[in-house]
């Protein structure tokens, strides 16, 4: 993160988009929107627009990757070429490969992997528009897509970042704050187990700032978790209504 001297918080203590430091961006979630996928979810968080789709559990190709005692979760986090300012090549970047890994590892603790030995679950995440915090929003959507596919899980995984801008610890950084700010701490949480399944950090934070940031991010995760459950319920109720 480069530190340019631009004001990210105004005199009233509000951020560039009018939010208070501890406020989430507006979040819309929809579950089950892709007809072909076994499970899917769409999230808008600020200007982030992200689609997650799940296929499986199904036979794994190539077969030698299958495991005798558990299913194999594969995850691809991918950005559309038009999702960012400068057109991005569709070939996966090193960043996308790393994020695919940490997202997968943030979701694995939530899944009863041993229920489907010798199979695979493919999770595909497409960032259609990026606005900072895409890995967290991706996890939030992906966990719902897994649930929508009927994969048995301990809890939904909700994710949210906190960070530091203009010397203040704030929640849910948007793109400009992420780029100009001085630290970013993305966190994923299974609230029922108080289990942190993703934790990364870059920038510079004192111990006290870090503690504050983590706690703020966890709070954000819990709010998003509530929205996840709401989105699932909406789909479930709608389906029931349609069926009745």
């Amino acid at each position: 993160m480069s530190q340019k001297h631009e004001k990210l918080i105004d005199k009233k203590g509000l951020r560039l988009d009018g939010r208070k430091p501890e406020e989430l961006r507006s979040v819309q979630i929809e579950v089950g929107i892709l007809p072909n996928a076994d499970g899917s979810a769409y999230i808008q968080q600020g200007k982030n627009k992200i689609l997650a789709g799940v296929y499986g559990p199904r036979e794994l190709h190539p077969k030698h990757l299958a495991l005798p005692d558990r299913t194999v979760l594969r995850c691809r986090y991918h950005m559309a070429p038009f999702s960012v300012q400068e057109r991005k090549s569709p070939a996966p970047s090193r960043r996308e490969i790393e994020l695919s890994k940490v997202i997968r590892e943030s979701l694995e603790p939530s899944i009863f992997l041993e229920y489907y030995p010798r199979t695979g679950i493919d999770l595909f995440i497409e960032v259609l528009q990026a606005d900072g915090g895409t890995r967290c929003a991706s996890i939030t959507a992906a966990s719902l897509a897994l649930a929508d596919a009927g994969i048995p899980m301990q809890d939904l995984v909700a994710a949210c970042a906190a960070g530091k801008i203009d010397d203040i610890v704030v929640l849910d950084l948007m793109d400009t704050e992420d780029k100009i700010g001085s630290a970013d701490v993305p966190v994923a949480l299974m609230p029922n187990l108080n289990a942190i399944t993703l934790l990364q950090m870059d920038g510079i934070l004192t111990f006290e700032e870090f503690e504050k940031a983590v706690n703020l991010a966890l709070e954000g995760c819990r709010k998003i978790h509530a929205m996840q459950k709401e989105a699932l319920k909406t789909k479930y109720v709608n389906v029931k209504e349609v069926e009745e």
Binding site: L34, P35, N36, A37, S40, K47, K49, L51, A52, G53, Y55, R58, R76, H78, A80, P81, F82, S83, V84, Q85, E86, R87, P90, A91, D122, F124, E126, L128, Q129, A130, D131
Partner: protein, 263 residues
């Protein structure tokens, strides 16, 4: 799909079509419902989402500055890319585009290029050195058949939705200005795809039909009813008579579809 299921399905669909009917209730020359939604990706210079029944395609336009091709030093560059995004179908794999995606991109590209949608000369900044590069990325989000027509329509709608930066040239430097201007689009080529089942032609085949058809033919026509691109696919054939009938029908269908581009 196993070959037994294919041949059963083939039989069933063919019997229906023999009676001028389709499994989903359409007539042979009816399109599924078409929805065009422009401007869905604010960060792109232009974008559009197209629904063709359950087939969903998103197209985004980005504009950059690059070098012209050596043989056209005074012309901008158009690059069309298509991704069969793996969440769109259990049959799509991640990885670099394979022949289906490449054919799709090139058919969409030719429809735009040959009908002269863009005036490439106007996209030249400094001859031989700097030109505008128009990237059209076609992103298939759900595959329920007839990706060509949906993709061509999404690409065209995204171009119609495109606002590009203005710029000034100072010597060899290009200064981007903050105001925007509409990308000039001169034509509205529409791709209409036919499938042949037995000796019948249908338009807009959906997935179930695509899996059993013999051959497809895409005819792209412009506002004046001229033909500007064609592409036969599949391991069957068409008679000359069928081809001419398809071209005539394509011009009629294109007129209908073109109306979806008014917003």
């Amino acid at each position: 799909m196993s070959s037994i299921i294919v041949s059963l399905k083939r039989k069933q669909i063919a019997e229906f079509i023999e009676k001028e009917k389709r499994l989903d209730g359409r007539g042979l020359l009816d399109y599924r419902e078409i929805v065009v939604e422009p401007g869905v990706i604010e960060r792109a210079e232009g974008s559009a989402r197209v629904l063709l029944g359950k087939t969903e395609v998103l197209a985004g336009v980005k504009i950059g500055i690059g070098k012209p091709y050596a043989d056209t030093p005074n012309e901008g560059v158009l690059t069309v890319n298509a991704e069969l995004v793996p969440l769109a179908s259990p049959t799509f794999d991640p990885g670099p585009p394979k022949e289906n995606a490449i054919e799709l991109a090139r058919v969409v590209d030719r429809g735009i290029r040959e009908s002269k949608v863009l005036d490439f000369k106007k996209l030249c900044i400094i001859p031989s050195k700097k030109v505008l590069v128009v990237f059209v990325d076609v992103y298939v989000l759900n595959h329920d058949g007839n990706l060509i027509d949906a993709s061509a329509l999404a690409a065209l709608a995204a171009l119609l939705n495109t606002k590009m930066f203005n710029y000034e040239v100072e010597g060899d430097e290009v200064k981007i200005k903050s105001d925007l201007t509409q990308l000039p689009v001169r034509k509205h080529p529409i791709a209409v795809t036919f499938a042949k089942i037995g000796d019948k032609l249908i338009v807009d085949p959906w997935l179930e039909e695509e899996q059993i058809i013999d051959a497809r033919l895409t005819v792209t026509t412009d506002d004046d009813g001229n033909i500007c691109a064609m592409q036969k696919g599949g391991n069957g054939y068409f008679t000359p008579k069928e081809v001419l009938k398809a071209v005539k029908t394509a011009r009629e269908k294109a007129k209908e579809i073109r109306k979806k581009l008014k917003w």
